[in-house]
Amino acid sequence: MSEAAVIPNVTTPEWELPSRGVVGMVCLIVAEAAIFTIFVVAYLYYVGKDRSGPTPREVLDLPIFTSVCLLSSSLTVHFAVAALHQARRGLCSLWLAATVLLGGIFLGGTAHEWYKLIVHDGLTIQTNLFGTTFYSLVGLHASHVIIGLIMLSLALIFSLNGSMTAKHTGRLEVLSLYWHFVDAVWVVVFTVVYILGR
């Protein structure tokens, strides 16, 4: 049959290339990071430029507990991947469930914060520049958390009904990469909105 472009007597010892899932996810993360950068720049550009209140200092509280929850979920998802790698599926389900729970707590915290801001402090996206930039930046992050939670819940379901095996470690690892990114973005958002911006 065709020997098209096969150079005879060429030995290619080991030819290993990176996993396409990881590379694809890294690309997605770079693109997403650029989107977040623009929103962060807008936040910093407009911070303190409002002519009317409420200002961040007046209404924002540090969401320390929920932040700790979100950040520690990075650890639990890492453990889940490690457990699946060792083919310990029960343990993997447990860690995944913990991750979903911690992410859920964070989301609940954000919902509670928004409720307080909207109902008690009267801050909506239309109120002023702070409202505009705050809700869009935090909301953009929250929407990423929601997408991540949906994916993690699916993984949990597959893990529970036994269709996720050690063969799928690679895919779960790609998902965990995304989740680490979501957490890392929160570190930036937290610093910008709750520390620098206040």
Partner: protein
């Protein structure tokens, strides 16, 4: 769904199975957005398509990616060249490649030249302004635009940020120019001192002199071009000396080569060779 035996069949190749779900998902997303400019019903339709296609797509890749076998066609291709081949030699001619420059040479030359340049620049500062730092700050003014209009007294004082900025600018340019020297000097092997020490500095100064007036007239007024050329020549001589030390290109054989070869525009063989035997076209 997943047929394993095909994997072993040498006459088929496994390719991803065609699927309409990506197209339907794209349509769904588009309809959701189109709903914003038309009516909610369109968006709802889009949402439905999205959900359906996400599930459909999911089942294409999980638990296994869907494949379909494609039979091999009989199409043996042996690429040939229309040109007559070179006469078969018993062993490939020993590659006698022309030496070209190495990055490290240029870097070393640039750093050495950069250090040498500090001497005339400092002498100029001391003689004209009785300060060690004037030249440093003047260079830093290239980075801090407001310094371009600052008083002489200000520029004579020591400023840490000025020193840092000057080191950065000076180091970077010295490095880049050094690399340029490393690349260009081997092309002009006959009069190394003339080309490296005089012609190149004069050319560089000429370019800077004409550009700076446009870029920053304030800075331009302050520069003493006599001393500037002096430091450029110091740079050129030292940098050129170091580069020439590193590259042994003074052989008579090399000098005899035409310029195009010295510049690497074409060698006599190898990847850059021309098909001299190209006869058919």
């Amino acid at each position: 769904m997943h047929t394993d035996p095909d994997h072993l069949d040498p006459n088929v190749i496994q390719l991803p199975r065609p699927t309409a779900w990506p197209m339907i998902l794209a349509l769904g997303v588009s309809l959701i957005l189109a709903g914003m400019v038309t009516s909610v019903a369109v968006a709802i339709l889009g949402l439905g398509l999205c959900l359906a296609s996400i599930i459909g797509w999911f089942r294409q890749v999980l638990p296994h990616e869907a494949h379909e076998p494609v039979p091999l066609e009989d199409a043996a291709i042996a690429p040939t060249s229309a040109r007559t081949l070179l006469p078969q030699t018993k062993e490939p001619a020993a590659p006698h490649r022309v030496e070209t420059f190495q990055l490290a040479t240029g870097i070393r030359g640039g750093l050495a030249g950069g250090l040498a340049m500090i001497v005339p620049a400092t002498i100029f500062s001391l003689l004209k302004f009785h300060s060690l730092w004037y030249a440093t700050n003047l260079l830093a003014a290239g980075g801090f635009v407001s310094w371009g209009g600052a008083s002489d007294a200000f520029l004579c004082q020591f400023h840490l940020q000025g020193l840092l900025a000057a080191i950065f600018i000076h180091g970077l340019t010295a490095l880049l120019v050094g690399l340029l020297y490393g690349a260009v000097l081997p092309m002009f092997p006959r009069y190394p001192i003339l080309s490296a020490g005089v012609i190149a500095p004069l050319l560089l100064t000429g370019i800077l002199h004409s550009v700076l007036n446009v870029l920053s007239p304030l800075l331009n007024q302050r520069i003493d071009w006599f001393w500037f050329i002096l430091s450029q020549i110091a740079f050129g001589l030292v940098c050129g000396y170091v580069v020439n030390l590193q590259t042994r290109l003074r052989s008579a054989e090399f000098q005899a080569l035409p310029f195009a070869v010295r510049a690497g525009l074409h060698g006599n063989h190898g990847p850059n060779s021309i098909d001299k035997k190209d006869s058919s076209r």
